[in-house]
């Protein structure tokens, strides 16, 4: 049903139909805004990027390929790249933890699994604090995987990468988060 309506929506967008554009915003607006706000700090900046994303979507709807990805994944790809390019362009200062000495890589898998696997409200709060110290792109990937439950293929399509790279990046991010938690605890 959703697939059929998506096709109708795309047909309307190809004709530059304002009704179809409104329907698109109603259906995917919240999702795109959340994705943008995750990467871009400040609501005004996020609003600007959100508008840029949809202007780009309406203009380049003819480049969308149904066989390559779903409409939602295609929208996420545009939103991700618009946000990243906005961050580069506007040079907003972003402070994050960088593991220069590679200490996070030294952590064992069992140690990391124990930190994230055993339900503990205190650990949840620590993880929330640790998430703010991650760079925006890593935070976006981890959210896409754990919160939006996207497949590695979709994340790879969005970030213009390959699934194995995404998997290794996820693993590294988990370890990095664990390292930040340990630093916060100490």
């Amino acid at each position: 049903m959703n697939q059929v309506t998506d096709i109708n929506l795309i047909q309307g967008l190809l004709k530059q139909d304002s009704k179809a554009q409104r329907a698109m915003l109603e259906r995917y607006g919240q999702f795109v805004f959340a994705q943008v706000a995750r990467l871009v700090p400040g609501i005004e900046n996020a609003e600007e990027v959100y508008q840029d994303v949809f202007v780009k979507v309406f203009r380049s709807i003819d480049t969308y390929d149904v066989q390559k990805s779903s409409l939602l994944t295609w929208l996420s790809r545009i939103a991700y790249h618009e946000s990243v390019s906005y961050l580069r362009r506007s040079s907003i200062p972003v402070i994050y933890f960088e593991d220069r000495e590679g200490e996070a890589e030294k952590l064992s898998e069992s140690e990391v699994d124990a930190t994230f696997g055993q339900p503990n409200p205190e650990t949840v709060q620590l993880i929330r604090a640790a998430l703010t110290h991650l760079p925006p792109d890593e935070r976006a990937i981890i959210t896409m995987f754990y919160y939006e439950e996207m497949s590695l293929n979709d994340i790879a399509y969005i970030t213009e990468s390959i699934p194995t790279t995404v998997a290794s990046k996820l693993s590294r991010t988990r370890k990095k988060l664990c390292k930040i938690i340990k630093m916060l605890q100490s």
Binding site: R22, G29, Y50, D113, G117, Q118, P119, V124, Q125
Partner: protein, 216 residues
């Protein structure tokens, strides 16, 4: 990877809380975006432009429909008027008595009717008729002038001289938009003769004035 996603409950919860606390999308953001999209869309530009284009087309059509076709009469009238003015400006200061203008200067405004090509024979006949009319009905003032001029003018030249009129050269008719060489030469000759006559008349008037003042 799916098992990893399932087993990291703490991480999932933390991200869920983070997402819940994220600022919500403003309610009017989509409306603002739609305004921006409509302002930049080509259809909006076309919608703004088309009434002006339509109005311009209608105005052009009306202008074409209302404006009468050019028949060249105006141009000839203007040149005649300009010539007359130039001659007046070249003339000496004493005011000349009002002399009846030659008939060819008056272009009758005829109703636009389908023009028929006039044959040379007809034209010649018309010229002769006109000459006869002009000689038959002279006014009192012109009679004086003509008698004066006759005394000075060469009778042979006068006999050969033909006065062109609007009837002879009906330039208002489409088939006669252009003068022939002969017609142009005749027009020039006629204009020169008219000028000479006018100068002679002026000289005669000034001579009379001088005589009158001398008598007084």
């Amino acid at each position: 990877m799916n098992t990893l996603c399932q087993q990291d409950t703490n991480l999932r919860d933390a991200i869920r809380f983070e997402e819940m606390e994220r600022p919500q999308m403003p309610a009017d953001l989509n409306a603002r975006l739609m305004k921006r999209v409509e302002a930049h869309s080509p259809s909006a530009r076309v919608r703004k432009l088309w009434p002006w284009l339509a109005a311009a087309c209608v105005a052009a059509f009306i202008a074409v429909y209302v404006t009468p076709p050019k028949d060249g009469t105006g141009d000839v009238m203007e040149t005649l008027a300009v010539t007359a003015k130039a001659e007046q400006s070249q003339a000496p200061t004493p005011v000349a008595p009002k002399v009846e203008e030659p008939r060819h200067a008056v272009v009758p405004v005829e109703a636009p009717e389908k023009a028929k090509p006039q044959k040379p024979r007809q034209r010649a006949a018309a010229t002769e008729n006109l000459m006869a009319q002009q000689s038959a009905a002279p006014s009192a003032q012109t009679a004086v002038v003509e008698t004066d001029l006759v005394a000075t003018a060469d009778p042979k030249a006068e006999a050969e001289m033909t006065v062109l009129s609007e009837r002879d050269i009906p330039i208002t008719r489409p088939e006669n938009y252009q003068y022939t060489r002969e017609e142009l030469a005749q027009l020039k000759k006629q204009a020169a003769e008219a000028y000479l006559k006018w100068v002679e008349l002026e000289m005669e008037i000034s001579r009379n004035n001088l005589e009158q003042t001398a008598q007084k």
